[in-house]
């Protein structure tokens, strides 16, 4: 249990293609790790919960002026995705043409590894 609530464990799992949430053992609140205490009931009783990784785009942008070190990647899209389980997560959009992006578009989690660092990505559902 303690494993999934660390950020390192979250990204290790993500790198293997598994998106992990945490559910409060007391009140059932669902969250994205890491979190110390349940924002709903203040308890610290998290249990890991595998997430399906499917969701829809809630809002997005196309980054055209990137930070240092990312010039070769621009333009690229970043979106807030509402997962089917009800929690939201921000991720980099991959393999979806920028002009096809719209609010409500179904997407699916996929890990993105860059400089040996895992980043949350979202790509097409099929």
């Amino acid at each position: 249990m303690s494993k999934v609530i660390t950020l390192q464990a979250f990204f290790e799992e993500a790198r293997a293609g598994r998106l992990t949430g945490i559910r409060c053992g007391r009140c059932g609140e669902l969250a994205i790790p890491p979190k110390e205490f349940c924002p709903a009931c203040q308890e610290r009783a998290w249990e890991p919960l595998p997430l399906d990784g499917r969701g829809t785009i809630a809002s997005f942008t196309v980054i055209r002026v990137p930070p240092r070190g990312r010039a070769a990647e621009a333009p690229y899209a970043v979106a807030v995705v509402r997962l089917d389980e009800g929690v939201s997560l921000l991720g980099r959009i991959v393999d979806i043409p920028l002009d096809a992006l719209k609010v409500g578009l179904p997407v699916r989690f996929r890990p993105l590894v860059r400089d040996n660092q895992t980043v949350v990505g979202f790509g097409p559902t099929v």
Binding site: A58, S59, F60, I63, P66, P67, R68, V80, S88, L90
Partner: protein, 385 residues
């Protein structure tokens, strides 16, 4: 708690200030603020300095002590305060607390940033440290990007139009044109805003503030003595400081910043005032949409009505509440650590009747400073004495 007053205010011009380093900028604003008040320099008992990216962009740490030394204030406690773009507002908050609680009688507060010596990509990366690096920013999100995501949501949820959002930039550039301290001194048209280059869809260049150098400072003392030190002191009626979620995906509603709402409640409560009492406000328009959201979160307009309010001129100098008569961050400039103090500098001028774009009949003024995507906010309410 003791009532607190501002007895001196100073500010450098904002812009690309070639040849002037970060320490010199802070010293310059402090010197001006001290010169305005009749309090002798040796009365100053503490110094708080707001600064965000000085270590990264100007390679300078220990900034508060350096500035205090240069001002000849050696010996007093000097503290650098960091809360991203709200660093200046938080520094002011600490100065106010020091006097309100009776710890000090005279406090100098300043904010400073030196940004224009660095390439844009480096500045963008430095500012991105205000986001949650592990939880969000490593996706390649930038600050314009975060506010672009927020902008799209506000448009979808409330029907806010791209034109209404653009009019914030038109208003603020128009005001900046007649503010001698402002970085941009030229009005822009709505067409120019809407055809400027995309930075992060749907935000364009004129929706964003420039990269700026600058500093601002104020001198504080107990209100009961204020008239001995300045003929037109300004009373600090209320002060609020609050935090909120650090990432977009943790926010229940990305079109509102809980930190702003909480800080304003604290400030209104302390001042025993309501949003309708505020005649002029300097709000944190780090992007056009941020001004619209601030006017809603501060209670000037109902949620979702901030866009139409801009269109109807309700936020113009003669509207219901004059918002950002200085030109705001978008036109006056946004040396990030200085902004919170510069907002208060403008409002002190407004309350004294000395502002470049003087609003009529100003009795109550409000400053709103925001850090990150709402991880921290301060609200300060000022009044004439």
């Amino acid at each position: 708690m003791r009532a607190v007053a501002i007895i001196g205010a100073g500010s450098t011009p904002f812009g690309k200030l070639e040849g002037r380093g970060i320490v010199e900028l802070a010293v310059s604003a402090c010197r001006d603020a001290l010169a305005e008040s009749r309090a002798p320099r040796e009365k100053i008992q503490a110094f708080y300095l707001g600064n965000f990216v000085g270590e990264r962009l100007a390679s300078q740490g220990a900034l508060a002590g350096l500035v205090a030394n240069r001002l000849g204030l050696t010996g007093i406690p000097a503290t650098k305060v960091e809360g991203a773009c709200a660093s200046g507002g938080i520094a002011l908050r600490h100065g106010v607390l020091g006097i309100a609680l009776g710890l000090y009688d005279f406090v100098l507060v300043a904010g400073v940033e030196k940004m224009t010596s660095s390439p844009t990509a480096e500045v963008t990366a430095a500012l991105a440290t205000a986001g949650d690096e592990e939880g969000e920013m490593r996706t390649g999100l930038t600050f314009p990007g975060a506010f672009a995501i927020i902008t799209r949501e506000h448009m979808a949820r409330y029907g806010t139009t791209r034109e209404q959002i653009g009019l914030v930039s038109v208003k603020n550039h128009g005001l900046g044109a007649s503010n001698p301290k402002a970085q941009f001194r030229k009005p822009v048209t709505l067409d120019e805003v809407l055809s400027s280059r995309l930075i992060a869809d749907p935000l364009r260049l004129f929706d964003c503030p420039p990269i700026s150098d600058g500093a601002a400072a104020v001198v504080l003392c107990p209100a009961e003595w204020a008239r001995d030190f300045h003929p037109k002191p300004v009373r600090v009626l209320g002060s609020g400081h609050a935090t909120g979620p650090a990432t977009l995906w943790e926010m229940d509603d990305i079109t509102s910043f809980p930190a702003t709402v909480r800080a304003s409640r604290e400030a209104y409560g302390m001042a025993r005032l309501s949003p309708g009492d505020v005649r002029v406000a300097e709000v944190h328009d780090c992007f056009t949409m941020a001004e619209i959201i601030a006017t809603e979160d501060l209670g000037f307009f109902p949620k979702g009505k901030g866009g139409p309010a801009v269109e109807k001129g309700e936020t113009g100098p003669d509207g219901q509440v004059a918002v950002n008569p200085s030109g705001g961050l978008i036109a006056k400039g946004h040396p990030v650590g200085a902004t919170g103090c510069a907002q208060v500098y403008e409002l002190v001028k407004q309350l004294r009747g000395e502002a470049a774009n003087q609003v009529r009949d100003v009795e109550i003024a409000l400053a709103h400073n925001l850090g990150g995507t709402g991880v921290v906010s301060t609200v300060t309410i000022l009044g004439r004495m």
